[in-house]
C-alpha cells in the first residue's frame, strides 16, 4: 500500500477504535449518573426505588416545615395534590424556599419512604416554577401558579 494511504488508514482505525471506546463509556456513565424524577404520588405508591439517588418535587405543604432549635436539621412535606412525602434535610435552605411554593429535592428514599435530601432547590425567581413541578398540575396549566391551584386538603 502507498505509505500515505497506509498512514491514513491507521489514523482512521485509531479514530474509530477511540470513538467506540468513548461512546461505550458515555453510555455506561449516563446510565450510572442519571437522576430520575418522581412526583410524590409515585413515591407514595411505591414506584420509586429505595436507597437510589433520585429527585422529587412538589409544593411545600403549608405548616409542615419544622426546624430543629439546636442545629440546622429541618423537615417538611412536599405534595402534588393526591399524595405527600416527608423530607428530611440538614443545612441551609435556599433563599426562595417557602411554604406553599414549589421545591425540588434530590437525595435518597429510606426504607420508611421518607426522603433524605442532600440538596433542596427552590424556584429561580418568583415567576419561575421548576418544570417538573409545573407538569404535576397537568399539561397546559399555568406554570406560574401551579402551587396556588393545587389543593392541600387531601
Amino acid at each position: 500500500m502507498h505509505p500515505a494511504r497506509k498512514q491514513r488508514l491507521y489514523i482512521v482505525l485509531f479514530i474509530v477504535a477511540f470513538a467506540s471506546i468513548a461512546i461505550g463509556l458515555i453510555v455506561f456513565a449516563l446510565r450510572q449518573n442519571l437522576d430520575l424524577f418522581y412526583p410524590p404520588s409515585k413515591i407514595a405508591a411505591g414506584e420509586a426505588p429505595l436507597e437510589t439517588h433520585i429527585r422529587a418535587g412538589g409544593c411545600v405543604l403549608p405548616g409542615s416545615v419544622v426546624r430543629s432549635t439546636t442545629n440546622l436539621d429541618v423537615e417538611f412535606e412536599i405534595t402534588d395534590g393526591p399524595a405527600k412525602v416527608k423530607v428530611y434535610y440538614s443545612g441551609i435552605l435556599p433563599d426562595l424556599f417557602e411554604e406553599g411554593e414549589a421545591a425540588v429535592v434530590s437525595g435518597k428514599l429510606n426504607p420508611e419512604g421518607h426522603f433524605m435530601a442532600t440538596q433542596v432547590l427552590a424556584k429561580h425567581d418568583e415567576n419561575y416554577t421548576p418544570p417538573e413541578v409545573a407538569d404535576l398540575a397537568g399539561e397546559g396549566a399555568d406554570h406560574q401558579k401551579t402551587c396556588e391551584v393545587i389543593s392541600y386538603d387531601s
Partner: protein, 661 residues
Amino acid sequence: MIPELGHFSLILALFLCVLLSIVPLVGSYTNQTVLMKSSTSLASGFFVFTTLAYICLTIAFAQDDFSVKYVASHSNTLLPIYYKLSAVWGGHEGSLLLWAWMLAGWTFAITLFSRHLPLEMFARVLSVMGMVAVGFLLFTLLTSNPFDRLLPDQPREGSDLNPLLQDPGFIFHPPMLYMGYVGFSVAFAFAIAALMGGRLDSAWARWSRPWTTVAWVSLTLGLALGSWWAYYELGWGGWWFWDPVENAAFMPWLVGTALIHSLAVTEKRGVFKSWTILLAILAFSLSLLGTFLVRSGVITSVHAFATDPARGVFILGFLLFVIGGSLTLYAFKAPQVKSVSRFSWLSRESLLLGNNVVFVIITATVLLGTLYPVFADMLGWGRVSVGPPFFNFFFVPLMFIVCVLLGIGPMVAWKKSPLKNIGGLLLKPLTISIVIGLVFPFLYADEYSISAAISVMIGMWVATTTLAEVIHKTRNAPSFMAGLKKLTASFYGMVLAHIGVAITVLGVALNTIYSDQKDLRLAPGSVVTVGGYEYLFYGVKEVKGPNYIAQEGRVEVTKDGRLIAELKPQKRNYLSGGNSMTEASIKSSFLRDIYISLGEPLQEGAWAVRVYFKPFVVWIWLGAIFMSIGGILAISDKRYRAHVKRKQEKLAATQNLAGAS
C-alpha cells in the same frame, strides 16, 4: 421617537446585510471588482446602523422610558445608572441586539484589518458574515423586537432588573462572552470563503488565525468572568456547575481550543487542512446551538418550548441551514484539498492531532450530557437530569490526557523526532514533577491525599516541561537572557498559555480536594472553630442600599489570636419586591479564600451561616488570565502584521514547495 429610530435602524441594517450577503458574492463569481468592493461600504453601513439601534435602546434605558416593554420589564427608576446601561443585555431581546451588534463589530473589524486579503476572498468572507447577520437580524426583528412599545397604558415604574444580575460581574461578563461566541463566526466565514474558492493553503490559515485567537481569548475571559461571578454572587461557593447554560458556552471554547491548535499545524505545515475547516464550522455551529439552547427555553422544559415555539423554531431552522449548508459545501469541496507533506508518529503533528481528538471527544460528552435530558423528555423516557458526576467522569481523565500530551507536544519537532532526544529532554521535568507531587500532600495537609499527589504531578508536569522547553530553546544563545530576547512573541504566547493551564489545573484540583464547608447555627457572641480558624459572630443589623434593604451580619475571623478578616455577609431584600438575595462576603488571598454567606434567621437572633474554606480558588481564574495574555501575545507576533505580509507570503510559498518536494 427614539425607540422607533432604533427599530428603523435595525431594519435598515437588515436590508444592508441582505445586500452584503448577495452582491459581493455575485461579484466574486463573475469577477466584477465594483461589486466585490461594495462589501466594505455595506459592512460599514451594517455596523453604523446596528450601533445606532444599540444606542437608541441604551438611551431608552437611561431615560427610564417604560413605554418600551423591554425597558419596563428590565429596569427601574431606582436602579443605579451603570446597571441601567448594562440592563440592555439583561434579557432575551437585548441580548440578541448585543449579539447582532457584536457581529456588526466583528464584520467592521474585518474591513479594517483584513484589507490586504485578495479581493475575492475579502468579498466572500464579508458576504458570509452578511448571511449570518441576516439570520440574526431577522430573528431579532421577527420574534424578539426590543423596541416593542406598551401603549397606551405605559407603566409608571419598571419591574426591575433581576437582583442576581445587579452586580459588577454583569457589566463585563456578557459582552466578553458574546464577543467570543460571535467571534467564531469570523473563523467560520473564513472557512466557508476558503471552501468556496477552493483555496486552502497556509496563507488561509495565517489570515484566519489571529481572528480565531481573539475570539478564543474573549471566550476564555468571558467564561472565567462568568465562573468567578457565579462563585461570589450565587452565594454558595461553587464556581462551575455543569449547568446547560454554562455548557453552551463551554462547548465552543473546547472546539475553539482544538481549532487554534489545528490552525497552527495548518499554517506551519500545511496538513490537517480539511480537519481545520471542519473544526471552524463546528465551533460556530456550537455557538449557534448554544444560543438555541439558552434562548429557546428548550432546556428548562420542552413544554416551555412548545408554548412559545416561534423563537425556538426560528433558531432551529437557522441552525439547520447553517450546519447543513456548510457541511454540504464541505462535502463537495473538501475532497479537492490535498495535504502536501507527511509526518511520522512521533512528531508535533501527531501530538496536536491527539490534542484535537481529545478535545473533540470532551465536546461530544458535554454535548451528549447537555442534550440527553431534552431528548429523554421529548421521547417520553421521563424527566431526567444529568449531574456533575457524569461530566466529571469524562472530563477529568480526558483533561489528564490533554495535560500529558501538552507536556510532550512543544518538545517534539515537526515531521519527525527521534525518541531518545525527547526522552532526554523530558526526564528532568518528569522527575521534578513526581517528587513535588509526592511531597506536596505531606506538607499541605494532615491526611495524605493520593488524588492531590496526582494532581500536583500533572500540574507540575505541564509547568516544568513548558519551562524546560524555554531553556532548551535558549541553549545555543551566548547567555540565557540573550536567548530569551531572541524568542518570538508567539512562542512566549504559547508558554504563558500553557503555564496558565498548569495554574488552572492546580487550582481546580486542589480546590476540589481540600475545600471545606460547614453549615453552622450561630447565636450572637458565639465562637465556632472550623479548620483552624475561629469565627466570632456579632449578630445581624439592618443596612440600606440604593434599591434594597439588607440584613448584614458581622463575623470576625481569627487564627491563633490573630485577626484575619472581618466579614460582612448580607441578605438583601430588593424594594421592587419579590426576591431576596444572598450576598456572600469573601476574604480572598493567593492560597485560600474564606467565604461566608448568611442562610436564614433562626430563633433568638441566631442565624444559619455557611462557612467555606476554599484553598487555591483564585488560581482557577488566574490561569485563565495567563491563557488570555498568551493568546494576545501570540497574535502580536510580527508575522501577522500587514506590512511584512508580502515577504512572508513568498517565504511560505517557498517553504511549501520545499515541503512538497
